[in-house]
Each structure stands twice: as structure tokens, then as C-alpha cells.
């Protein structure tokens, strides 16, 4: 993938990105001989995957899938190919700098776009884990902590290199909301669950009225209300153009999410859902998808005490669409495949678990037409594995994004991201830290000298 010039205006970048993909790789590449797990469709024992111009052009058995003349053929015998992993909830690229601040519990106007550090080592580590698309979320310390951002983990110099553009050119993303204990603090934050729901309802009611005013004004700028970045975004949610990605653990908090979603008609995905197994039928009846996390033990916070490894299995059985997430740094992006292994240990079907890493998450992000399975026409995002995706002994050998090699474990620099070691820490942090300290020391010395 070529690196685009950062100073071009967004519209030019958009146009260029379409052109760039075409320029980047016109010669088809055929990956031949590996076991292919397309996720949509049955496994292919000895298959061929053909990609061209950043897209998948063919997937099929080796003996019945013709390889175009002039194609670069790569032998992947003994390997396993599956779609690039999609992580529906992560905090790579900056952590707490990505979302709202402590000034209030509801800040939908804050964009992850303005806070992500593309130089963070966490992004390189996610590529090493086979993650090709990720939903970077602001934290859960607010009722509404800001706009999330869906990213393709292409090689990047600036955040623009990572964006997934919607047809109107705007970057794809959701709205992060949370309930339960995380957003509970001293005023103006809520002190109780009832207060939390009330604050959220007030803002959505305000957004409805704002929307109505805008609609009544039609094209008359005199009648149009003053722009309000927060209400505009809630309006996007009410209009169904932005999905609410909602942190919720306890069964009663989950029910509150479903209640608010019904009242205001917004589209929502439940995240973490620790006690979802207690209300699986209700979640299924509401038609709400879940993005769940697997951790090695319950506890660590009161709301997580009833976490259970069987949750994926229970949800699957109830008919809920289930994706997984790392919540990086809660779990490590490099070990995202492990979530599927744990899901199967907890009784989930193998197919469901593999979809939980890929297609289900693509649906959770509304990107299922572009990513999530090895299907002709979709983006050429896939991973080459050394063995079965559910085995602890399997390594992600290569990560391909839009037909370009984004991670290769055999390269020493990439191996470092894959396993860690001296130099795998964040290169930027010591820099900031030491300048800060040095200035502090100099200031103190000056003060002492005077």
C-alpha cells in the first residue's frame, strides 16, 4: 500500500485512495495449496485464494479454480488462510487520550479521530495478531464518551491512512456509550443507575427536538437552530446512520440499554455483556448483537464477577449474533485468536467462534459487505496461519490488508511486534516522559538558583 501525501485535502485523498488501490496491485496474486476457512462457506482443504487490486477475486478448491495467466503464485501448502480478524472493541492507538474528558458524562461531540496516535506500538502489535479492521473506542468512564472509529490497519503515517470511508466520504465509526459502575462518579456524573438513564434520556429527547427544528427549518437558514455538535451526533444515531456501541455488564444494565434503544429507536450493539447469559432470550428477542470478551478469570470489578466462559455458547444457542473483542489492553491483540479457542472451550460451535472473530464483527460494524469473509468482491484482508486458528501452537505468519502484506512474522522487525522484547515498548512515550522530566529538573534548578 502506498503512503499518501498527508497534506492533500480529504476529498482528494478519497479519490486518490480509490485510484491508489488500483495502482498498488494490478497483477493478481494466487495463494495456492493452503486450507482455506472462508467463514462464509465450508472449509476448503486444498484451496486457492486469488486477490487483485485490493479485492478478493476468487476462492475455491485448487483443482477447479483457474489461476489467471500472469498471476504471482504463492505456495501456502500446509498453511491455513482465513479472513483478516475484525476486533469490534479495542483501545489501541492511545488509550485514554481518545475520548471525552472529565468535564461531564455526555460528550458525543468528541471524536476518536482527533485522539488516536498512529505511531503507537499497540497498532503494530494488533497487525501481528492478524487484526485487519478494528473499532477503536473511547473509554467507558462516561455515559457517552464520544465517536468511535473503524480502522483498517494499513501501514500508516497519519490517521487518514487508516480510515474506512463511507460513501459520503465521512469516516466510519459508532458512538460509545456505557452504563453500570464505570460512568458513576461525583456530579455532574451520575451517582445512581436511575440518574444515569435519566441523563441519557434527557439528551436524546433534546436531540429529537433539535432534529425536528432542523427539519421544520427546511432550507431556511434563519429558522435553523444554532449548530450543536453533540446533538448533531445524537441525531446521526437517531437517524440510524451511527450505531451505538454500548458497554454494559450487569443483566439489569443490559435491560436498560434495550429499553432506551427501544424508546429512541437507535441501533445498538452490546459490549462485554458479562451477565448476558442471564438475559440471553431478551437480547435475542430485541435482535441486538453482542460483542463479548473472554478473560481468564471472573472478578476484578463487581460487575464482572458472574462472567462465564459459556457465554458465547449460551448466546449462540439463544440466537444472538456474537462477535468477540480484545478490549486491548484488557486482553492482548496479538492473542485475539485465543478468544475463539476459549469460546469453543465454553461450548460454542467452531463455526460460530470463527465468525466471532470475523464476519459477526463485520456485521457489528456494519461493514459486512466489505470485510469479514473470504468472498469474491470483498476486500483482500486475510491472514496466513501456521496451523489451526484455535490451537495455541499456531502463529499468525502473515497479515494481508487490501492485497498488501502488512505483517510478516519472518521479518525481524515484525517478529518483535509479534512476541515483544527490547524495543517493543511504545517508542513515543519515553520521549515525552523524559522531556517532561528534564524540563521539570531544569525549572527546579532555576528556581533553586534564584
Amino acid at each position: 500500500m502506498s503512503i499518501r501525501h498527508p497534506s492533500f485535502p480529504a476529498a482528494v485523498v478519497l479519490a486518490l485512495s480509490l485510484a491508489a488501490a488500483a495502482v498498488a496491485q494490478t497483477r493478481p496474486i494466487a495463494f495456492q495449496g493452503g486450507r482455506i476457512l472462508p467463514v462464509e462457506g465450508a472449509p476448503i482443504e486444498r484451496g486457492v485464494l486469488i486477490v487483485q487490486d485490493g479485492k478478493i477475486v476468487a476462492v475455491g478448491p485448487q483443482d477447479s479454480t483457474p489461476i489467471p495467466s500472469g498471476a504471482e503464485v504463492r505456495d501456502v501448502s500446509g498453511k491455513v488462510l482465513m479472513p483478516g480478524l475484525v476486533d469490534s472493541h479495542s483501545h489501541i492507538g492511545g488509550g485514554s487520550g481518545v475520548g471525552a474528558d472529565g468535564s461531564g458524562p455526555i460528550q458525543p461531540e468528541v471524536r476518536a479521530l482527533d485522539g488516536i496516535d498512529v505511531g503507537s506500538s499497540s497498532i503494530a502489535k494488533a497487525r501481528a495478531g492478524g487484526i485487519t479492521t478494528v473499532n477503536v473506542m473511547p473509554g467507558s468512564g462516561h455515559l457517552i464518551s464520544g465517536q468511535t472509529l473503524y480502522l483498517k490497519l494499513r501501514p500508516a503515517r497519519t490517521i487518514d491512512d487508516l480510515l474506512i470511508r463511507l460513501p459520503d466520504g465521512s469516516p466510519a465509526g459508532g458512538l460509545k456509550m456505557a452504563n453500570g459502575t464505570n460512568p458513576r462518579r461525583d456530579a455532574p456524573f451520575p451517582g445512581t443507575r436511575g440518574k444515569a438513564a435519566s441523563l441519557v434520556r434527557e439528551r436524546y429527547v433534546a436531540a429529537q427536538e433539535y432534529q425536528a427544528k432542523v427539519a421544520r427549518a427546511k432550507d431556511d437558514p434563519e429558522k435553523r437552530p444554532a449548530r450543536d455538535l453533540a446533538l448533531e451526533q445524537l441525531g446521526e444515531v437517531l437517524a440510524g446512520r451511527r450505531v451505538v456501541q454500548h458497554h454494559s455488564h450487569r443483566h439489569d444494565d443490559i435491560m436498560t440499554v434495550l429499553r432506551l434503544s427501544k424508546e429512541f429507536g437507535f441501533k445498538v450493539v452490546l459490549h462485554h455483556v458479562s451477565e448476558g447469559w442471564k438475559v440471553a432470550d431478551e437480547i435475542a428477542a430485541a435482535g441486538v448483537a453482542c460483542s463479548i470478551i473472554y478473560v481468564d478469570s471472573p472478578g476484578g470489578k463487581l460487575e464482572a464477577r458472574d462472567m462465564d466462559i459459556r457465554i458465547g455458547a449460551i448466546m449462540e444457542k439463544a440466537g444472538v449474533r456474537v462477535g468477540f473483542h480484545t478490549d486491548d489492553p484488557i486482553t492482548d491483540s496479538r492473542l485475539f485468536l485465543r478468544s475463539a479457542g476459549m469460546a469453543v472451550r465454553g461450548g460454542m460451535s467452531r463455526d460460530g467462534a470463527l465468525a466471532g472473530l470475523t464476519l459477526a464483527n463485520a456485521e457489528i460494524l456494519g461493514l459486512q459487505d466489505r470485510i469479514g469473509s473470504l468472498t469474491p468482491g470483498k476486500d483482500a484482508d486475510f491472514v496466513v496461519l501456521s496451523g489451526d486458528p484455535l490451537s495455541v501452537y499456531t502463529h499468525v505468519e502473515q497479515t494481508w490488508i487490501e492485497g498488501a502484506l502488512a505483517f510478516d512474522r519472518s521479518r525481524p522487525a515484525d517478529h518483535l511486534w509479534a512476541v515483544g522484547g527490547p524495543g517493543a515498548g511504545d517508542p513515543l512515550r519515553p520521549h515525552y516522559c523524559c522531556f517532561g522530566n528534564a524540563w521539570g529538573v531544569i525549572a527546579a534548578a532555576n528556581a533553586a538558583a534564584q
Binding site: 478469570s297 471472573p298 472478578g299 470489578k301 512476541v419
Partner: protein
């Protein structure tokens, strides 16, 4: 809530006398929740009355495995481990062996020694993560070696039963990292009764931390830097040496009064209760080795994220390493940790074990089996990975005469799995401690 019909219970484990509690596990999540809410009932798995304090009355158990890994020897196909009165009396081929009808028979695909976690805080740092169940660090002073782990260990914390259900039968737990000396540690079996009833070594080690993780940013509070922490530690060790000398040499009326802190450090000085020093940066590992040399201490290095940078120094010291969890979050002093360090230590010939460590957030504890599994997935040979959570761990924490391998005469501690214990999809299907059978996952 629906029944858990997909939940296969103890799949390859045939129970001659199926326990009512095991069957109950299949019924409903409500029951599961009930069990969680009443940890006391899950602590004594089969007895209506409290489980016996001594293993003498434990029933005889025959454990057959498609593969039995004794750890101190070669794997056995179709192997048998026979336990009588809480101790192992036979390990070998199952063929030709007979035992009485009174012997309870268990079967599993894979049988290994009960797992030994070389460094945990389970039972001290409780599941709920609320002030009332977090006993791992008191921050009122930087050096408190007199704090005993037996006074802090809650055998009935739900996490104790949780790690046991995944195969962990012995833990080295106690005061945690985070201050220069936080207190003592103990070694217990995960039976979940009381500290006294379950303990193997009540005063195993003294937990210390060097480096940025044990400094305070509060103005005027010490230690504010890693170097200051070393100075504090050295000062206290010198005091303890002088105290010990005076107590030993002076006539009774001239002796200094008893001082619990000095007594504890005295045990660190004479090697009977070694310092377990948590260090991650290369610089801090070297500082720990320097202090050990100065005071001729026997120490155990713990954490050691940057061990690959100072491998020669660690090897030359001869001290063992209790390595950080393989999946530890790589932040702060651990930003450079590698999932391959276990393999690196193995190649360097440095004795090591793998730990579950301390977690201050979700998940509240790690499972040492899974940490070894990922090390095995990242280049550590599987036998070494298993040893790192059984026999090698038992050696480092001083209980290898009792646990860590399947040998005649050792405690009847066994973990049973329905496949390769390291694989993500494998389940623990049963656990035996001193011949007493506990449920698996």
C-alpha cells in the same frame, strides 16, 4: 434460563461414585450462581461435614490416563496413578494393575501432577477487587517484612476454587509487588479450608519490589526513585544484621528487645526465608543482584521482563527466575517483555518457573496453566513448559519433596484434562489434592 444441555460434564472422566455436586453442575446456571455465592460448600467437595484436616482418611483413588505425564520421567501411555491415604503409591502402566472395589476410579485423556503456581496473590487479592478483599499491599510504610501471609490469606476466596478447578493445586501466594518490601508469602494447597489446614510453608519468602513500580510520586515520600529504594533496603538489612548479631552475642539483659521486622529480615539474611524480588527493568535486576552479593543473600528474581538484556548476569548469579505471566500486559516497566523469554531462559540454562502474578483489574487472577501454554506456543518446549508449572516451580518455592511430580511417596495431587492441557479448547475435568477429588471446570 435454559438448561446447559451443551455442557458436557467431565467428558472422559468416569466416576465410580459420581458426586452429587458434579451432577448438580449440569443443572442450571442458577445452581452455578448459588455455588458461587456459597464458597464454603464448594470448598469441601464431597463431605457433608468439613473435609478432614489430615489426608489420612482420604479415600483411595486410581487415576487412569491415556497419557500420564509424571514430569520427573517419560510420559506413560495408558498410565495409572494410584493414591492411598493421600499419597501416591504407584505410578506406571495400568496394564496388569488391580485395586479393590473401594478404590474410586477416575479417567482422563491426559493426567499431570497438580499444577504449582510459583507466584500468585490469589486468596490475598480477592475476586471482587473491593477494599475489603484486597490484602496484598499496605502502603503505610515502604518496608514491612513482618507482615505474615497466614494473617492475610483467605482460603475461601472464590478465586482459590476457581484456579483449583483449572488444575492448580499448590500456590505460592501472599503479599504482592508494589512497595519496597510488602510482607511475607506462604505456600498453600488450594483446598479452600483455612490457611492453617491448607498450608505447606507458612513463611515461604519475603516479597520485595525494586524499580519504578515501588516508588512513590508523592512529594517528600520515600522511596521516590529506584536508587533511593535500594538505599532504604540496604539500610534496613544492615540494621537487621546488627540486630541479629546483638541478639546472638550479647547477654540476655543487654539484648535489644524483640523486633518483628528485624527478625523477618534476619531470616532473609540467613536464607531461611529468601527475598522474592520483583524486578522488570534490566537496571533493577542488576540492582537486586548487587544487593544479594553485598549481603550474601539467597534470593529469587520475580517478573524479569528485561531478563534477555542481562541474561549472563542472571545465569552467573545462580538465582532462579519466577518469570512474569507470558500474557502480562506490556506497559510501564514491562513494556519490553517478550512472550519468548521463557524459551530464552530455558536455552540459557537458568532455572525458572512461570507465575500467575498479581492483577489489579480484570481478570482478577491469571491461570498459570494458560501462561505456560502461551509460552509453549511461543517456542518453549512442552516438557519444559509443564515443568515450569509443576516440578521446577515446586523446587523454587521449596516444596518439591511434597508436590510437583507424580512420584511414589509424594502427595496425591493430580490434574486431569480432556486433551493437551495447553490447548485453548481443552478442559480440566477433575482435580485431586491429597487424594480428595474436586470438580474441574
Amino acid at each position: 434460563m435454559k438448561t446447559f444441555s451443551f455442557l458436557r460434564v467431565l467428558p472422559s472422566l468416569s466416576l465410580a461414585r459420581p458426586s452429587a455436586r458434579c451432577v448438580a453442575r449440569t443443572l442450571a446456571p442458577a445452581l452455578l450462581a448459588l455455588m458461587i455465592a456459597v464458597p464454603a460448600s464448594s470448598a469441601a467437595p464431597e463431605a457433608a461435614s468439613p473435609a478432614p484436616a489430615a489426608p489420612v482418611s482420604a479415600p483411595s483413588v486410581a487415576i487412569r490416563g491415556d497419557t500420564v505425564y509424571p514430569v520427573n520421567g517419560s510420559p506413560l501411555k495408558d498410565g495409572l496413578v494410584l493414591i492411598r491415604e493421600g499419597r501416591i503409591v504407584y505410578v506406571g502402566p495400568a496394564a496388569g494393575q488391580s485395586y479393590g472395589a473401594d478404590v474410586r476410579e477416575l479417567r482422563a485423556a491426559v493426567v499431570v501432577p497438580g499444577l504449582v503456581d510459583a507466584r500468585a496473590t490469589v486468596g490475598v487479592s480477592g475476586m471482587l477487587n473491593q477494599p475489603h478483599d484486597q490484602e496484598q499491599v499496605d502502603r503505610s510504610a515502604p518496608l514491612q517484612p513482618e507482615l505474615r501471609a497466614v494473617d492475610a490469606y483467605n482460603a475461601r476466596d472464590e478465586l482459590v476454587a476457581y484456579v483449583r478447578a483449572r488444575g492448580v493445586t499448590t500456590v505460592h501466594t501472599g503479599h504482592g509487588p508494589g512497595v519496597t518490601i510488602s510482607g511475607q508469602t506462604l505456600v498453600v494447597k488450594t483446598k479452600g479450608r483455612t490457611a492453617e489446614a491448607d498450608v505447606l510453608r507458612p513463611a515461604a519468602m519475603i516479597a520485595a519490589t525494586l524499580g519504578a513500580d515501588a516508588t512513590t510520586a508523592d512529594r517528600g515520600k520515600s522511596p521516590g526513585t529506584p536508587a533511593k529504594a535500594v538505599a532504604l533496603l540496604r539500610t534496613e538489612l544492615i540494621k537487621a544484621k546488627e540486630y541479629a548479631d546483638k541478639r546472638a552475642k550479647l547477654p540476655e539483659d543487654k539484648r535489644p528487645p524483640r523486633d518483628l521486622r528485624m527478625e523477618a529480615l534476619g531470616r532473609a539474611l540467613d536464607g531461611s526465608q529468601p527475598l522474592l524480588i520483583s524486578v522488570d527493568r534490566g537496571r533493577d535486576i542488576l540492582a537486586a543482584l548487587r544487593v544479594a552479593r553485598e549481603f550474601n543473600l539467597k534470593i529469587v528474581l520475580e517478573g524479569c521482563a528485561e531478563a534477555p538484556l542481562v541474561l549472563d548476569e542472571i545465569r552467573t548469579s545462580g538465582f532462579p527466575v519466577v518469570l512474569h505471566p507470558t500474557m502480562e500486559r506490556s506497559f510501564g516497566t514491562r513494556e519490553n517483555l517478550s512472550m519468548e523469554t521463557a524459551a530464552v531462559l530455558r536455552r540459557a540454562g537458568i532455572p525458572f518457573a512461570i507465575q500467575s502474578g498479581f492483577e489489579d483489574y480484570v481478570p482478577k487472577t491469571r491461570i498459570v496453566l494458560y501462561e505456560a501454554a502461551v509460552a509453549a506456543g511461543q517456542g518453549l518446549d512442552r516438557d519444559a513448559a509443564l515443568a515450569a508449572i509443576t516440578l521446577d516451580a515446586a523446587r523454587i518455592i521449596g516444596v518439591a519433596d511434597r508436590v510437583g511430580s507424580l512420584e511414589v511417596g509424594k502427595d496425591g495431587d493430580v490434574a486431569l484434562y480432556d486433551g493437551d492441557p495447553f490447548e485453548y479448547v481443552t478442559r480440566c475435568v477433575g482435580v485431586v489434592i491429597d487424594g480428595v477429588v474436586y470438580p474441574g471446570e
